[in-house]
């Protein structure tokens, strides 16, 4: 396979991993409540995730270690366990939100309540993971995920003011509801900088047998793929700012968010929204379930790999099986997927330094990355954005919880 095809496939993968229920929900709420004012948060998150994805691919290609594997080896079991526990808690919440997102997409189209869809959707996710290969998951769902481009089409159709979009790229203080503003900003950062994405990516690089010759491919995938993912998330925000903000719709439930595309694109817009929500959540659910199973297996020395038969990696398979079953049953209870999404995204932002700082140490350790260590730009960008997101989350989450 040529490098060009690998880049294309990687870009598709990145799109599937970037735009999921977290990004759709947070950017839709941002546009609805604050117009174009929070585009800067999407930009900041995109920049940080480009660096982190590039770093995780580079670590895998040069050291032949996944992030978790290297973390355990470099820092010992205590640090590994701290990152594992925080990852598992967040991943469970986000996976529940993704299962909820798929179920809600089916509810929108069929009228049958999302709670009834949670178990069938969980079974579908599990079945594909059980039977499918890494290539199928990496490429199949991600190619389908290209349907998300419909948001860019809708944004162009609505002809937004480029001046206002440009102004939104610069951080500004909110004119109203400051608490909600910062909470949504934090949630956008958490949705963009999802640790499961780069754990999955580094494991995928090992599954695809990357070596130092893939450094260029990795860089292209990180910049073009994540950049395009950021563009899609910005398009959701722009459409919400054009459709919801002027009439005062707050998008407090995902059912409301489905109205986004029907105004610019008519009835097809509604069906394309449901398809986009379902496919993006399915892709993210695969990545979350696998990333968690990878985290356990790589740190605890189990057999792992999506291309390995389940019977040859039974504990790896058991982790994602239990995880999917658990969260599917949780969603049957009727938890609101949108509220779950917003809080899990904010919590993701809160724990970011816990994830990114040990990773940065690895990326500056010549024992692992040799001459391919980080430069000062990537170190500074990741440290600054992680700390900013975490501090904002630390203040915004309790205030939002108590203040509603």
């Amino acid at each position: 396979m040529t490098k060009l095809v690998q880049i294309a496939l990687g870009v598709f993968t990145s799109i599937g991993g970037f735009l999921e229920i977290g990004a759709i929900a947070t950017t839709a709420q941002a546009g609805a409540a604050f117009g174009f004012q929070l585009i800067w948060a999407v930009l900041l998150g995109t920049i940080c995730v480009i660096f982190l994805v590039e770093m995780s691919g580079r670590l895998a290609a040069v050291s032949r270690h996944t992030i978790k594997d290297a973390l355990r080896e470099r820092f010992g079991p205590r640090v590994y366990m701290v990152t594992l526990v925080s990852d598992v808690l967040i991943n469970l919440m986000v996976l529940a939100a993704e299962i909820g997102g798929m179920s809600l997409a089916l509810q929108l189209v069929t009228g049958i309540s999302f709670q009834w869809w949670a178990v069938p959707v969980g079974l579908l996710t599990w079945f594909v993971l059980w039977k499918g290969t890494f290539g199928l998951i990496e490429n199949g769902v991600s190619l389908l995920g290209m349907v998300a481009i419909v948001f860019v089409v809708a944004a162009f159709t609505l002809q937004p003011s480029l001046h206002e979009i440009g102004a939104g790229l610069l951080p500004s203080l909110p004119s109203h509801r400051p608490l909600h503003y910062w909470f949504i900003a934090v949630s956008i950062l958490g949705a963009a900088i999802s640790p499961y994405l780069f754990y999955f990516y580094s494991s995928g690089a090992i599954e695809d047998d990357w070596d130092e010759s893939h450094i260029g491919v990795n860089r292209a995938v990180a910049v073009i793929g994540m950049g395009f993912g950021g563009l899609l998330a910005t398009a959701v925000l722009v459409v919400a700012a054009m459709v919801f903000h002027p009439v005062g719709i707050e998008a407090e439930r995902l059912e409301q968010v489905a109205l986004l595309l029907s105004q610019p694109l008519g009835r097809w817009g509604f069906y394309l929204f449901a398809a986009t929500l379902f496919i993006c959540c399915l892709g993210a659910a695969f990545e979350l379930a696998l990333a968690t199973a990878y985290s356990f297996a790589q740190g605890l020395g189990w057999n792992w790999g999506e291309d390995v038969r389940p019977r040859d990696a039974s504990r790896f398979t058991l982790v994602y099986t239990i995880m999917i079953a658990g969260v599917s049953l949780l969603m049957v209870s009727g938890i609101d997927p949108l509220q779950l999404t917003l809080f899990s995204m904010a919590l993701t932002a809160l724990i970011l330094p816990l994830v990114t700082f040990p990773f940065l140490i690895l990326m500056n350790d010549r024992d692992y990355v040799g001459d391919y260590g980080n430069g000062w730009i990537s170190n500074t960008a990741v440290i600054t954005i992680s700390l900013l997101a975490s501090l904002l989350a630390l203040v915004a989450i309790p205030l939002q919880l108590l203040g509603g």
Partner: protein, 118 residues
Amino acid sequence: MIRTRSLLGSSWGARLLLLSVTLVPLGCSSPAERIERATRTASSWAATARLTSEALRIGSLPRGYASQILEAALERKRQLEGQPEWRSVPGEIRGRLEDAARELAASLDEGSDSLPRP
């Protein structure tokens, strides 16, 4: 040679937790804020119902979805009506939500007997 070092043992976690706990009381909302929130929510659902009615009328939305929006709007309205601050929400906003829900129900009403009534 790969080294093993501990990152733990710093007091930063405790400091951040303390800061978080200190800030928590600031988040308690006042009655005025609760009224403002109820007003905003009622206004938002009125706009949602109105936008859905318009889209339904020109065939931009399937009826099944529009009836889900109506159900959600009515459920939210019932929740708001059960809150003490509902009486302080401006009558115009309350009326707007009532009218929008009725309008959406009327748009959906043709040919169906099983739709929720506002």
